[in-house]
Symmetry: none
Subunit: 230 residues, 4 copies
DNA sequence: AATGAATGAGCTTTCATTCAT
DNA sequence: CATGAATGAAAGCTCATTCAT
């Protein structure tokens, strides 16, 4: 292997020849499998709910045995937690992807809020987000700490972010709400709205982008109508 | 039966001896027992959730046997549905108890909305309402028809009612929303708000009346700020 | 039924006709079943030991289902305890059947000790006694309270009884041990002896009555040789 | 390899590279590892009992993997047997360490018996001895050959030894038992006594040296009282 | 109508053992 | 030889449901 020097990972190949995978790679493999399991578990939890989902069916869909499942997660509860944390990680990624606050000084609040609202609601009506909420609410009595993780990673974080933005906008004199944190909560409540509520109850099919646009448009209108400074 | 007038209770006793109660009375008795069962089931469903609640524990708390339960409800699922319908009936009663629309012509919209909002949110954070929501959401995948019943009896009905009121107020020239149905949804979304969201996740204790007043006050302010006509 | 007055239980027959078994009879039935279960469990515990015995195999040998087993005993442990207590009850019956102490004043200590020793050892080498000891010793670490029950019902109680007898005999001047309780323990230890020890290890077949006689004879000889007063 | 003499340890290293250790050395290494495994297994068997001890926990405590375990012992049962044999070997060592019979001609039987008894009982109440007994008894049904190994190496061998001593003492005219083998068994039964019985049932804490002294003292007294020649 | 014993399928979990690397 | 992932059988236990009384 002539390019071994150019590609240090080539040496890893040599190690493999000796039957000794480097630890890092072993761990990576294990992590990949863990993720695969969590992904299958997610599907089953979605379809059946936590309580009704059985480890047997998860194992069957995985194509492996129950024993293997338990080699990776010490209990059904632990598997559920792993899924919740994984899903919250995705929320978190989304929340941290908000537009920079420095744009707050800029004039076009309407555009910013509209963009934010559409992305927020657009994410909420994602199948994975809706099912996550359903699972978390369903188990809220039994496992309140999961609800905590969920809230902080998702809605809670989003509100903090939006609050900061609104405060900047207020300081710049573009809006005038009495309490920016409350205003942020109100805006997101308006975005969530009835569309989302009904969808979360499985009463209507997944909202179309047009419906989302409309819902957010009305939310922005009311919000700026009430708090905007002309 | 000649002596019925003299000793009405005697009649019952005699009928019992013969094992033949008048049909109407039998039905009444059966219905009373059904209600008693549903009430016990409600408690257990609240405490344990649908899946974890066992017919045994319901029977035990009832002081009867499992067999008796099955004499009244043919399955656990049927018992659960009976409870949901019962609970929704209570919602319905609440909804029909909204203030009369004829007050709409009256000037004090703020007072009407505040009153409505406080009663709405106050009811939402009731233990029975929150648990009902949790159960319905948890089973929304498995049994979407339950969600339907729930929505129509509760939030859906409330929106219809409020829409009518807002239209009257708009006709009277007190407010000017572009779409009254949408406005009604927005107002209720604002009332539900984050307080309710967090409570439904078991993240905070039951909101106090003062907290409810504050949340609704801010909702009314934003709503009238946006849609009101000065 | 003409003799109903003479035989009040005849009325019970009438109750049965109405489909209502008297509570006492129901309980008796339940108790009978419990005993039957314990008896089957005993066999399986004997053959496999506590840990290796499975509820499935007990149920199978019973001809019933596992569910039924758990209707009568809430866990495998509970079933084991029920068996231990039952077996100890038999020990207790045997212990309380010792010859009356008032015979102690009588002269023939040799005959009394011989009789006692033979009955004691004869019972020890009973299959049920030997298996009981094996089970109790095997689980002594895990469940010391079972060992306590066993000891008090069997060996402990026997020693107390024998001690009383020896004290009477000492008062009557027939023997002269420095400490009667210790002497009682020594006598029983001698009776138990190596014969029993080896049998409890499954090393030899069940001792014959002749072997028992011989072992006890030598025990009595040594005991009276050491403590007797010529 | 010319430099082998200069660096003796280098030899080993070189051999390792070639994967060829001298056979004797390989075997020694293997045996050492086997012993280490058996020692760890012993601890786990002590703490959990045979059935409850898992190969996983043994491997974990060993710091190795289950696969390695199976490289050295082909099954859990085989590992258990190896432990029993090892433990019995220790018993054997102890037995062969008994005082020399040539002392038999000497006069002080009391001292000899006392010394023997205390060492015997002292060893019996050792943690390893008591747990060994418990394990052997627990598995006596399933694996009678283990009990055989155990008995021959321990109590059985001791009796043979003591019998020889007593015969010498009898020949010397110091004692006069009708049957020395039986007398030996009786003496050890007396030593074992109730103290040991109760300890083996986990009913009392480990006997103190003082308690052992007392128990043996009374055994010697009774034994010499019965069989001694004044 | 009421009872409660009986059932059997199914649950989560554990474990000895095997095998590719 | 060491590793640890994978397996599958079986364990203890629960529960909705049925049925004879």
């Amino acid at each position: 292997m002539a390019d071994a020097k150019l590609d240090p990972e080539g040496e890893v190949g040599a190690a493999e020849l000796k039957g000794k995978l480097p630890k890092a790679r072993l761990d990576a493999r294990r992590d990949a499998k863990r993720e695969a399991i969590v992904d299958v578990a997610r599907q089953v939890f979605f379809e059946e709910g936590y309580a009704a989902a059985s480890m047997s069916s998860i194992a069957a869909r995985l194509g492996g045995s129950k024993g293997t499942l338990y080699n990776y997660f010490k209990s059904k509860e632990a598997l559920f937690e792993a899924y919740i944390e994984h899903a919250c990680g995705q929320w978190r990624a989304w929340v941290f992807d908000l537009p920079d606050d420095d744009a707050a000084g800029g004039a076009d609040i309407e555009a910013v809020l509209t963009d934010l609202g559409e992305r927020f609601l657009g994410h909420l009506v994602t199948e994975s987000a809706i099912r996550l909420l359903q699972l978390v609410i369903a188990e809220a009595q039994r496992a309140p700490e999961l609800a905590h993780i969920f809230y902080d990673a998702g809605p809670g974080g989003g509100i903090a972010r939006l609050t900061a933005y609104l405060e900047a906008a207020k300081a710049a004199g573009h809006i005038d709400p009495p309490d920016c944190r409350m205003a942020a909560q109100q805006f997101l409540s308006l975005c969530r709205g009835h569309l989302y509520f009904r969808y979360s109850l499985n009463l209507i099919p997944r909202p179309t982008p047009a419906e989302i646009k409309a819902e957010v448009g009305r939310a922005v209108a009311l919000f700026l109508g009430g708090y905007g400074r002309p």
